[in-house]
Structures are given as structure tokens and as C-alpha cells.
Symmetry: C2
């Protein structure tokens, strides 16, 4: 199957896979989709550079992309020490108390000076773009909508398209007016940053708003060939999938954190919650004892981006090290209910294509029946 998206990105199948793991991203590209590497975890652009070197060696020349996190409006900026001062002591006290109550051990001394995830900072995201453009990337996506216009221009100068997530028709229109080339219509059921409008309603709305100007990808709730077919029926040129790769064997290779995968494998589609506790903006997360603690009456309101992520970043490290599946902090969509075994990306990808084909067969048969 060949959609406008395939032509634009030079890929074989209209499936784009977002993932923080280079191992997953490379496999998606090798399978004929577009692997998109999430850059937010790279505080140091040199580290991203080495990982992209690895991607270049391991994708057999197939196209891949990168995903940055850059608000169009430049938010609070500063070194991590400056920003630290903006975090209210009662927020810190709540995090400290909660981790203690949840039995999450402290970090060993040598890890304490970790500065948290800085990829949310504008300056750091810009360094990601600079580094990515030194590699043969085929897409720069921005998880927070349209990047600033000068960044779009910088990417375009390299002949590379820019994709942006949108949760409303009006956002999509603004993105395209800014120069964005591909819109990802991200429905309410998606993992990570997500709005209120569900994929079923959002995709045709965004297709009607900007589909005559740019290809639209459907995101949110996609983890089977039936759902890819539904996305195409809604008018999308392809599917953007993020959560579904978190239980692949290759993700395990990068993260090495089996508690998270165990938690994801046992979760049902009702076991997510949309909350501001991860980044300061509403994002869908796995429902765990950590997210529940933030819903108690004594919990403070989450801080704005980027402060909330700085507040909780040591907590995230402690939680990851603790290895307790009940206290995981992980963005994931409602599709988690369909993530029930650890499998290689190639197998997952092949099944998507097979079921997509079966679904189109099924629709053909329905159509011929009278």
C-alpha cells in the first residue's frame, strides 16, 4: 500500500513508529516503516550524535526520523540550578514523602548529581535539531505542535519535512500555516501529551482542515491492523504509533528495565490516566500507585512545563531503579490493553500488515454482500 506519506518519506508502508529506543527505531525502519527516535532523553547533544551514528550504521540505508520536544512559545529557560529555585518547597516535600510511602529507595550518592531531563528546554531541543541535521534524517517531528518558524526553516534548508502533533483542527491549521509538512492528529486515547478529542472524531476533523495541503497521520489507540485500516478509513495517510513498541524485545534492550515492561504487559485499557504530573502538560500515563498519589486531596497541583519534569526527574530515576511494577511512571496510551507479550519489532510489524490486509479483504466482502 502506498499513500502520499510513503512518497513523502520514502517508506514502503504507511506506519511511523515513535520510540525513545534506537534499537526499536532502527527495526521499524528496516521493516519498511519510519522509525522516529525520541530525543528528549539526551541532555547532551554529543550523546545523541553517537546514537544517530549507530542508527546510520544499523538501518540499512532505510529512512528514519527524530522527534524533539519544543513548544512554539519559548518557555522558562535557564540552567538546571536556576530552574531549581522556582520549585516550591511544598512540592519537593510532597515528592519526598510520597516516594517514602511507596517504599522507593533513595539513589546511591554518586547518582544524586544527575541534572534531570533537560530535553524539555528550548536550548537543548535546538541542539538536538542541529545534531540531527548532520545525519541523513528524513523527518523532524515535534511532539508539542509547531516548532518555532526559524527551526522549521532550518530543517527545510536541508530538504527535510517537519511533522507536528495536533489535538485540535485549529492547531493543525496553525501548524501548516507555520510551514509544517505533516500533521499527526493525536487523539485523547494516545500516550504522552494528548488533548480531549478522541481519534475517531479528531482525524476526519484535521483531515478536513488541512488534508488538502499536507498528509495527516492518525495517532492514539493504534496497535493492530484493524486500527491502521480504521485510521486510513478516517482519511489519514498513515498511522503514528508510539506506545505499542514499548513491549517489544528491542525496547527491553535499550531500557533494560523489566519492571516497566511487566507493568505494561499486565495493564488493561482502563489502566491509564491523563495527568499533568509528568511534564506539566496533560499526558496519558500508566495508572500506578505513583499517579494515584498525585490524585489524593493532599497532593499539590503539578507545576508548569518545564518545572514539573525537573521536580519529578530524580523521582523517576528512583522509581526506575526500584524495579517495582506497581510504582512505575510511564507515558502510555489506552492501547496498553493490547500489549500483552514481549515480541520482536519485526514480528509486530508483520502482524500489523497482515491484519491490515485481512481487514481490507473483510471490507471488500462486506461491500459485495447484498
Amino acid at each position: 500500500m502506498r499513500t502520499t506519506l510513503c512518497d513523502k518519506l520514502g517508506i514502503q508502508h504507511p506506519i511511523v513508529g515513535f520510540t525513545p529506543s534506537e534499537h526499536v527505531a532502527a527495526e521499524i525502519s528496516r521493516a519498511g516503516g519510519l522509525g522516529v527516535l525520541g530525543c528528549v532523553r539526551f541532555n547532551d547533544a554529543d550523546e545523541l550524535d553517537s546514537v544517530l551514528d549507530w542508527m546510520d550504521r544499523n538501518t540499512d540505508g532505510k529512512p528514519y526520523g527524530v522527534d524533539i520536544v519544543m513548544p512554539a512559545k519559548i518557555p522558562t529557560e535557564g540552567t538546571s540550578v536556576d530552574l531549581d529555585k522556582l520549585i516550591p518547597p511544598e512540592h519537593r516535600a510532597f515528592v519526598r514523602r510520597t516516594l517514602e510511602e511507596l517504599g522507593v529507595p533513595e539513589l546511591p550518592d554518586e547518582q544524586r548529581r544527575n541534572s534531570g531531563v533537560l530535553g524539555w528546554l528550548h536550548s537543548v531541543a535546538r541542539s538536538h535539531v542541529d545534531v540531527a541535521l548532520r545525519h541523513p534524517v528524513r523527518l523532524v517531528a515535534n511532539a508539542l505542535g509547531s516548532p518555532p518558524v526559524d527551526v522549521i526553516e532550518q530543517v527545510h534548508q536541508h530538504g527535510i519535512p517537519v511533522a507536528a502533533l495536533a489535538g485540535k483542527g485549529e492547531h493543525a491549521r496553525r501548524h501548516v500555516d507555520n510551514g509544517v509538512d505533516i500533521v499527526v492528529a493525536q487523539g485523547h486515547e494516545a500516550g504522552g501529551h494528548t488533548g480531549e478529542i478522541a481519534t475517531m472524531v479528531l482525524v476526519p476533523e484535521i483531515v478536513d482542515a488541512v488534508g488538502h495541503r499536507v498528509p495527516v497521520l492518525a495517532a492514539g489507540g493504534i496497535g493492530s491492523g484493524r486500527q491502521v485500516a480504521a485510521a486510513l478509513a478516517l482519511g489519514a495517510s498513515g498511522a503514528w504509533m508510539g506506545s505499542y513498541w514499548l513491549t517489544t524485545s528491542e525496547y527491553k534492550m535499550t531500557a533494560g528495565d523489566t519492571a516497566t515492561q511487566r507493568a505494561l504487559l499486565s495493564a488493561g485499557s482502563s489502566d491509564t490516566v491523563r495527568s499533568r504530573i509528568y511534564t506539566g502538560k496533560p499526558a496519558r500515563l500508566l495508572k500506578t500507585r505513583w499517579t494515584e498519589a498525585w490524585q489524593q486531596p493532599d497532593a499539590p497541583e503539578p507545576l508548569p512545563m518545564p518545572l514539573q519534569n525537573i521536580l519529578v526527574s530524580e523521582a523517576h530515576e528512583r522509581i526506575t531503579r526500584s524495579g517495582d511494577p506497581e510504582v512505575v511512571s510511564m507515558p502510555v496510551g489506552q492501547i496498553v490493553g493490547r500489549m500483552n507479550e514481549v515480541r520482536p519489532v519485526a514480528d509486530v510489524f508483520a502482524d500489523l500488515l497482515t491484519e491490515l490486509d485481512e481487514t481490507l479483504d473483510h471490507l471488500d466482502k462486506l461491500r459485495e454482500s447484498r
Copy 2:
């Protein structure tokens, strides 16, 4: 197009339309779908009886159904006077104060003794079933999941299938175990009572849970042929549509309330809110100054079903009479963003079928492209 649903219900197209308006229901049936009349507004079973007589005369012998509202567990029962006593005075005071602040006039004296909507009561819903079974109905649907087993048996004795709404796979399984014949998978984006799982995720989940035993209908977010096609791609045997008929000419005929239609016509897909203020259970409503008042810090927690609806039923009458589009109280799904003009049911239905056909053509073409 012919699905298992068409055979089960004797209809031509796999589209079921739920509506409180007999004029809309009759037109849907005449167009080749199944019109399903919502019974909750009939406090008096004799009134329902006359309306079904009208349906019998105006559907050209085409199949139609009814929708009752009956929790499987028997809730608080009693006359309206008994139940009135269970409503805390501070709730009444909040409603009184809010209506005053919103400028909603009081009812004329002769209307004051109206007893509110009693269709939520078990005894009243049972009387609806008794009356419906004296008519040639082809489906009894229950908006609150599986009805009690003796009601299912009563309906089956007349050779009529029972449909039940489900918002989770486990609910669907329980419904079918109880004898339910058709499951309506109602996603988060739907109007009225709705759960947290979006249609894109819920439909395949319910199809996988019970699709080998009964037909599954997709509900929530459907108002175009692309969305009907997506529902079929997800494995549904058809679409259940409710909100989309609220802006038809025939609905206007029944409701005669142009303020509600004006409010719906101007609303976008972000202008809904899921709240317990309508019935006591979470239901998606049009976002208006009324729903916003209930989200203020001074607002009380909504009461459980059936008390909440009794609490607000006079308010609903006052709001309807006031004719202010900004203070409407109306269940509607996110598809309201696509409801932008008043049109006859027959035109709406014809467009659904045309776009469904075009969508299947489009998928065929995509498939052939390499």
C-alpha cells in the same frame, strides 16, 4: 452492504439510530436503518403506547426498536415524593442559586407540579418494556448495560433481540453471559452515558471479547461515512449513532426547542464535558454555562442515580423554556463538531451511505497502489 446485524434486525444498512424523537426514529427506519426510540422521557407508559402506535403507522412496516434505561442492579425505588426526601437541601440551594445567576426564569405556576423524569426508575422502565412488547418492535436496547435477566427473558419470549451498551470488554462479556444478543461498544467520545475507553480502542477489544458470539455495534464519534467505515474496519457489524440526529429537521419537529439546536450547531468538538450532573452517572454533555457552574469549587458533588436527575429535572424544564443557547443542558458526543446545519434525516442518511461507499473505494485504491 449486508452484515450479520442486518440479518438479525431485518434492516438494509448497518446503521442504528438512537433518538428521543419518534419523527427521527421513523425516518431512520424508512431510510433502511433501524430507528431506536428512547423511552426515558415517558413517565406515563400510556403516552409511550400512543407514540408507538404512531410509529406503527409511520414506518411503512420497516423495523424499529426501543431504548430503555434500566440498571442491572435495582437502584433506589419509590414515588417521586419519597425520593424527594433523599435530596440534601444544600443541593437544592445550589441549583436554585445557579439558575438565578444564569438568569433562568422560574416556571409558571401551573407547571410546577411536574414530577420530573421518572424513566430512570426501574418500575417505569419495566412498564416501557411491557408496552413496547405489544408493538412490532425489532429490538429492545438498554442504555445502561445488561437489563435484569428476567427482562431479557421476557423480551426473548417475543422473539426479539436485546442490545446493551458496554464501555469495557468485561462488561460486554457479562452482558452476553446474561443473554444479551447485540453489544453496543460505546466509546468515551460518545454523548450520554460513557466510559473512559475511546471507540478506536474499545471496539476491537469488545469484538475480541464477544464478537464470536454476538454482533457488536460501534458507538461514539460517528457522524460521517468515513467513521462508519472505520467502525466496520475495527470489526463492528455496524454503527450506533445518537448525537448526530439532534440537528435534523425531524428532531426539531419533536423538541420544538430551537435554543438547543442553535447551541449544538455552533459547538465544536471540544465543547463537551463528561460529568455526573445529568443522571448521577458519567455522561457526556454539551459544555455550557450550566455545566461550568457545576465545575466551580462551590458546586456540590452530584448525587447518585436516580436522585441527581430528580434534583435537576425542574432545572432542565426551566432551562428549556428559557431558550438561552448558552444555558442548555443536553447530552451530546464529540461529533457535535460535525453537526453544523439542520437537515432532514433522509439526506443525512443518504450522505452517510455515499461517503461510506467513497471511503471503501478509496481504501481499494490505496490497496492497489504499490
